[in-house]
Symmetry: none
Subunit: 188 residues, 4 copies
Amino acid sequence: MPKLGMEPIRRAALVKATIAEVGDVGSLQVTVGQIARRAGMSTALAHHYFGGKDQIFLAAMRHILSEFKAEVLAELAQAKPDARAEAIIRACFAQSCFAPRAISAWMTFYVMAQTNSEALRLWRLYQCRLRSNLCHALRPVARDPKVAAAVLSALIDGLYLRAALNDPEAGEVATQRALTVLHLLCDR
Amino acid sequence: MPKLGMEPIRRAALVKATIAEVGDVGSLQVTVGQIARRAGMSTALAHHYFGGKDQIFLAAMRHILSEFKAEVLAELAQAKPDARAEAIIRACFAQSCFAPRAISAWMTFYVMAQTNSEALRLWRLYQCRLRSNLCHALRPVARDPKVAAAVLSALIDGLYLRAALNDPEAGEVATQRALTVLHLLCDR
Amino acid sequence: MPKLGMEPIRRAALVKATIAEVGDVGSLQVTVGQIARRAGMSTALAHHYFGGKDQIFLAAMRHILSEFKAEVLAELAQAKPDARAEAIIRACFAQSCFAPRAISAWMTFYVMAQTNSEALRLWRLYQCRLRSNLCHALRPVARDPKVAAAVLSALIDGLYLRAALNDPEAGEVATQRALTVLHLLCDR
Amino acid sequence: MPKLGMEPIRRAALVKATIAEVGDVGSLQVTVGQIARRAGMSTALAHHYFGGKDQIFLAAMRHILSEFKAEVLAELAQAKPDARAEAIIRACFAQSCFAPRAISAWMTFYVMAQTNSEALRLWRLYQCRLRSNLCHALRPVARDPKVAAAVLSALIDGLYLRAALNDPEAGEVATQRALTVLHLLCDR
DNA sequence: AATGAATGAGGATTCATTCAT
DNA sequence: GATGAATGAATCCTCATTCAT
């Protein structure tokens, strides 16, 4: 076992374990001990690398956000100019982002944003980016791109919420619902 | 100070205090002690009347739901037949339902639904009712009332979410956004 | 409902409920609330009549003791002079004293005697009486009546203990075991 | 002060403290706090090593049982073939087993067996072993070894009971009483 | 780098008991 | 005579965090 360069490995393991645990339990009520055990290390080490529980959570939230960002960028990269909005929507409901566990963690971190200012900042960043991406993508096609972007991002969050609560109608048709509204917003 | 029939008074005080406290703190991490103090009684009495923390929370959730229901019914009662959908939307964003504290409590209880089955049941009940109300109201005006109801209810939740996170753009324009989509769904 | 003379009725009901509850639960860990509910009254009334939990327990213990005493006396009254020891033993294992619930309460009160001096006094009283009765009964038949009485009373308690713990061999054959020793002690 | 391998040390300290505390107080009503303080550590550590109050108690009960077993085996090892039964009896009333504190703890754990199934299992195990040992030892000398073993083991428990309640006659003469019966059972 | 050891602070819950009516 | 109301004190248990090794 290497003695150097363990830090990134450990941190990644903890972040992954945090998302999994929070997703499974469905609340921030998970203990550092659970996370550390799942990541295969002692709680002391978890503290050593992150400094505290909140920072572990924040790192996990950042990870989800960056994954989400990557998903969107990848989808956008291969989208035709006038299908960019649809690409973003598809990215939002891609397998990796819409898995029950991921959604559950996602929604749970939302709650954290009510309490923790750094979490709030991250959430706002995500919102901003999403809306800006949407706005840009909608400019060529929608009547009022700004409004359309606001509507769509709110709708996406609402659909996420349902998925987190296992609404039977959520998973399969979420994309359809979003696309329906997208088309309405673009309809001349 | 009356000595008989305190139960309903105490219960109401606890429910009110719970919503206020959860709304302020923005998490279920509030203690029974905080709630009881806010309601002006000992923790033991809170337990005496409700049996446990979860049941206090559930009672608070039920209260929010019933208030919401009343709001919708009141708004519907005085709406013209072809403005019923708009009435529901206006009810959703009425002052009493859209106060920051109420929204925060609302969203927080959502999280509880991931863990607590009774909370989930209540959430589903609310969803069902909202969608059914919307569907009925949309029948005369929307092309596909069922889809329209699904879209609108998801959108409403998404807008709530923003309000809970103090998105500056949320409060004021939430109604506008929802109405925009409503009109799109009804056009023609 | 009569307003006068309730005291003895209430007290009897509480004593009965205490024995039943302690017997069922198998520990002194029963609450005044449980006892009072079983006796069909409020905890406040239980306190009113007995002054406190300990005194309720002591009253129950006294009741068991007095029942036991009555059983022995009844059995002795109709015993031939040289069968008095056997009569005592039979009284000890009579239905009313050897019912699981009674035994369990009995043993539980033993434990109280380690803590509560009044309970200890009562236990010593019972012991004294039992041994004295046995001694007197054994005088005509046993070689050493005092030793025989000591042995038999210890044996009886040991057999009770087994019954309290539901030793399958306890209930049915307890009397046999005790009589066996009795005869050994009297042989010749 | 060593920093590794504390677990067995702590566990032993807790078991010892539990027996002492339960023995002193004479009831299971001792708190984890009392035990932990007596063992020189925090309650949290006690929970850490045992998981809960019941398990601390059970560990203490197991310890008493294993000590008892060792005592019997030691006594049996140096007994002549036809004095084995006497050796067992002497072991039962040896100093280490018959100290007031030990007896009190012993009896108290008996009570736990009425409530806790694992405690009951342990008690049955002890009973089984004692009776089996006695039976084997009595085979060469008693008329009916099985009955004799049953009688003696019940008698031993009865004598313990007296010791737990500080019957002045118990400690000193318990062995004598048991031996008296032993000889009666073996007398041809 | 890693961890077992250790704890203080806190939280839910229970319960005997008191009091006003 | 009877009870609902009310609580303080106590108890079990949890957990984030620190520290020595």
